[in-house]
Symmetry: C2
Subunit: 191 residues, 2 copies
DNA sequence: CGGTTAATTGATCCTGTTCAAACTAAGTGG
DNA sequence: CCACTTAGTTTGAACAGGATCAATTAACCG
């Protein structure tokens, strides 16, 4: 889709499928900073002349692309659009701050539990409710999202499975068996 | 200032000093998601009826407070204001995504190096250039920002000191001796 | 089928945590 | 002025959670 360093021309609004936004370091380490599905904007945040992050389509993705400059003009003439944009960003910011707490404070299995609930919520909100939950991400991509290694993610899955919190259907689908206890596991309740 | 769960009335624009924004878990773990200084908005992101995060003043802080509802009206009538807001959020979002990479991928000393450069940049941009750099944060607060323990932060400081990258002036001020090598240490170059 | 890619599982190692003690700096009151 | 407190920092030793390396198994596809 687009890559960090590319000159910025367009940004996208996803209308179908899933896209990952990530940041890479020189040595190959990678942080997936966002999982974007229907309705999400990507590539907008960058106000510099180049993209700061890279985006890649995970499933088949359909998206509307907007020319950035012309869109800005449009926003200037249409306040509603601007506030929709602000809402989108505000929501992303909230999610981002929460994800920081996940990366900074939770331990491996808690992170994976959180990830599953998060993903389930995104899907339920935006797409046909699917049970079991289709991941669409490899263990390595999940790991890069959660700041872990793929082996650790795999082990966490089996821990959750052994505790009868989830069930694995093949290796790309998960059935959430006990949402309540899973949420306790992902102990992200505010105080 | 304000606390997660409080009903949302006002938000703030810092005009002097430093404020920390954080998220707490039940068991006392804490993630500091933002260090806000002059010009930054805080408490705005929440579009729900209550704050999602807590804010606390670190130094003496002066801030303009805005009534959220009335401000929204003002924005609706003044497009420039809206786009300034969008810029602020876009910038925060970029920083947030970068911090996720820090939390997810860097190891302890790299994180501390990154933190110092980040702080130096914020100060240089917003306040009188001060050399040495005044931290204003305790080791524990830094730890909560970087997803580490205070002991680890302390050890990282001594590592950086022993490598002659920084010097400690008292325990709340740092002199950056070799910015270049420090930046290499904080290996957050995009690819 | 066989061949390829991803996932699981095991064993070992290392980074950061935890617990504990010593040290520093800034008050406070006799 | 100095003993005593208190909060924060540094340092040490033991421990544990993930990382790493390596081998095995499972799923997928021509």
């Amino acid at each position: 889709m687009f890559q960090a360093g590319d000159p910025m021309g367009y940004f996208y609004k996803v209308t179908k499928g899933i896209a990952l936004i990530f940041r890479s370091l020189q040595d190959g380490r990678r942080q997936i900073v966002g999982v974007h599905s229907i309705g999400d904007l990507c590539g907008y945040l960058e106000k510099d002349a180049t993209y700061n992050f890279s985006g890649v389509a995970l499933t088949d993705v359909e998206a509307c692309s907007f020319h950035r400059r012309r869109f800005d003009d449009l926003v200037a003439r249409n306040p509603d659009l601007g506030s929709a944009l602000a809402n989108d960003m505000s929501d992303k910011l909230k999610r981002a701050a929460e994800h920081m707490a996940v990366l900074g404070q939770l331990k491996s299995t808690e992170r994976v539990a959180y990830f599953l609930l998060q993903l389930a919520e995104v899907y339920n909100r935006k797409m046909a409710q699917s049970e079991p939950l289709q991941l669409h991400l490899t263990r390595e991509q999940i790991a890069d999202h959660l700041g872990l290694r793929l082996e650790t993610v795999s082990r966490s899955f089996t821990v959750l499975k052994n505790n009868r919190l989830i069930g694995l259907v093949g290796s790309d689908a998960v059935a959430i068996l006990d949402r309540r206890r899973l949420a306790e596991f992902a102990r992200l309740g505010t105080v």
